[in-house]
């Protein structure tokens, strides 16, 4: 029978979340997902599998999309994290969020933050993606409502809106 210590090892970690520097005491076994949802109450990042299979916990870590359930909280130390709560720059919606509403790119909405984060990473890297680019960039995200057709349209519409907004 296991007699593991009941008090986990902890360390302080400093990271930037949605532009704000945060210092927290994190247990060594915490994932970044756990830190975001439980310690910071940023529950927009969803936990669909907690084992790197579904993509609903996708966040940006130093501008790259990652499954936050596959990153230890301490590994995020010194890095910059963007979650769904930090995608819009002001009180309004980000063009991707607007496009997801206009194109009905969701059903139950549980996978939606993860898809938006993957799309956000794609459009920062590639402002004019093809449909194949969109499929490839979002292929790490699962939608069990299978709203894939609408999601593809939503991302392409967002790309167009962002290009037009930038020009």
């Amino acid at each position: 029978m296991s007699t593991a210590p009941t008090q986990p090892f902890t360390s302080d970690v400093t990271l930037t979340v949605n532009g704000r520097k945060r210092t927290l005491t994190a247990a060594h076994h915490w994932t970044l997902l756990h830190l975001l949802r439980e310690a910071l109450d940023l529950t927009g990042t969803k936990s669909g599998c907690d084992r790197g299979e579904c993509g609903s916990c996708t966040v940006l870590l130093d501008a790259l999309p990652v499954y936050s359930c596959q990153v230890l909280a301490l590994q995020a130390g010194g890095k910059e994290v963007v979650t769904i709560e930090g995608v819009a720059s002001g009180p309004g919606l980000h063009p991707i969020q607007e496009a997801f509403i206009n194109e009905d790119a969701a059903q139950c909405g549980f996978c939606t933050p993860g898809f938006i984060m993957s799309a956000y990473a794609l459009l920062r890297r590639e402002p004019s993606p093809t449909e194949a680019d969109v499929r490839a960039a979002l292929s790490g995200n699962l939608c069990r409502c299978n709203a894939y057709g609408r999601i593809i349209q939503g991302v392409l519409a967002a790309a167009k809106a962002m290009r037009e907004g930038a020009s």
Partner: protein, 762 residues
Amino acid sequence: MKEALTAVGRSLPRAGLAAKVTGEARYTADVKLPGMLHARLLRSPHPHAEIISVDTAAALALPGVHAVLTPFDPEAAGRLAPDMTILSKRARFVGDEVAAVAADDDSLAEHALQLLRVQYRPLPFETDPQEALRPEAARIHPGGNLCGGAPMLLERGSVERGFAEADLVLEETYKVPCHSAAALEPRAALARWDGDGLTLWKTSRGVHQDRSTLAHALGLPIDSVRVVAPPLGAGFGNKDESRGAAIAALLSRKAQRPVRLDYSRHEEFVAGRVRHSAVIRLAMGVKNDGAITAIDNSTLMNTGAYLASGPGVLRRAAQGSLYLYRCPNVRYQGLLVYTNAPVAGSYRGLGAPQGHFALEVHVDRVAEALGIDPLEFRLMNHVGPEGQEGRRRSPRHEIVDTQPVEGGIPFSSNGLRECLERGAEAIQWRGRPASNPLRPPALRRGTGVAACIYRGGPGRESTARVAIHRSGRVTLATGVIEVGQGAHTVLTQMTADALGCRYEDVDVVSGDTATAPEAPITAGSTATFSSGLATVKAAAKLRGSLLDVASTLFELPRDRIYFNRGLVFSKDRPTELAALSDVAAQMPRGSLEAEATVTPGSPDYIVNSFAAHFAEVEVNLNTGGVRVLRYVAAHDSGKIINPATAVNQVEGGVSQALGLALTEELVTDPGSGVTLNGSFLEHKSPGIAAYPHLQTIFVETEDPLGPFGAKALGEPPTVPVAAAVVNALYDAIGIRFAQLPVTPDKVLDALAEASPRPRRDP
């Protein structure tokens, strides 16, 4: 004068979506309370065992552990269903709930589970339903392994006579495995006691049903239980059970703190609710001219360790065989069997995808034997608006069953023929190439068709309350849960047009027994039809009361006034008199409210939805891989209330069911009862990369009985998919698969057995 529709029929934005794209929407696992503990469940490692004892001392001694619940706690004997208590001294499948712990955090709770010392006495077990029916098989429940003690027998005419009249009889056995609904949001429940009152937040498809189940199991008066359903990360027919919530409630009472229980993904696969596996033996008799003389369907379904919604699933598997084609002699014999396997429950379409897979593949087989094109055979034989031949036997004043067996009852509307015709046109069925050349490298293409008949629409009694407040805001209170399908969107649209207000001015109150009116569970594709009728009736009543207010206010007879899009008009002048909110501001009381309850359905007509699906697939002869290239889904769901959300619903349903056709199977090891592939990596659900080019067609019969002419839509898109794909596979490679899913290994095995031949070569 008929006022123009301003909300119904338009692609208005999905209700509640804004809060979901920003991450603000809190699902059940996002809700936190001060002092909240986290619960974890101990699950049985044995497929069948008696629990002799549970020693909780070591777990309770762990600092931070606040409560343990075992089957030896008297309150855990509360009954959730005829065959299920909150916890049981008998474990009936690998993964069955045995005990539970509440601790300061989830990893501590996890650790405490390992400290529980359980003494099991393993019992003989059965995972195969056929085996479980043997007289010497292990008994899983006291009543025996055959649910209900007898087969379900449904019959019209005489199949013996029908087979005697036939020129040709073909028989085949079809198999559908169990697979998981695997909604992305795992189940969760949060319990809080305030004195003797209990509040439960839970993943739910019906707060009123859950409240009555939980109050009964916990021995509480119904008024002291409040059930709240936060947004649901999809239902698909799942999440209608309450064991987890009851466990959370009992742990919370012991610990005197709020307790939240979250399922892991693995628990979702093993201890959620799977689709019933089915073995279907189908025999069909036909005349040489193509007329069907008899259909005989024997279905064996595995309900796993508990009954859940099994009887409804077994019944739903019958309807295709009984009713999709004109035939005077039909019979359905259904067996539902307990086994020591994961629990099967309701999953989108219930038994219909299984039943239609067998029927629609078999129809292609029969058509080929007669030398008739599969589409033409369906056009010759499908049931028409007049229904099945025969004399009605049920009393004429009774509401017609939405899944009738008898003939002599017409449909309220039936657009099946148009679905077949328009779908065929879109996929260019009649212009298909006559030959099927090998495409480099070793690719073959084929096209298939399958049709669908589906109950849904008329459900149980539904109530809606519509109120307008002085501010001009309108609230719709409905018991229907938004499970992700867009029910609140279409009900809001109906409210707007039935009352004459704007879509944007309606707020939905739902998912909370403290505020929402009684409603049946959100199931069976009944939300649009049944709750829609209640909503329209309540809104129309409210409009009547508001007309009285307006009539006094403008000194006009009430029949000269109407409301449209939030404005008040006189029929005698082109411009509006005022805004509806101006009238609302003059209401004698703070708000005006109207309530309506309807028992949907008709004593004269069957209300059913229809569909015809067409798939074009490509098979790689080297890898066995199957790609769906093009897909056309033609649906008769009556008037479409919101085209955008309806298209999304169809596309999503088709893509979801491609998993059943091609990739998904939840495998239970027969030697141990262990679920072998409880993860998204191994239970392969469709992804965005292979999402096919999909076209949706709505034939839009306006149903005379439905709200604004609408009928059911939620489940039908999943029903004909597997058969359409399997029929396309036959067209491509000349192999008729009788077992799902058609994975590459099955394709390669079949190709090795029969050298591939293009069926339509000259």
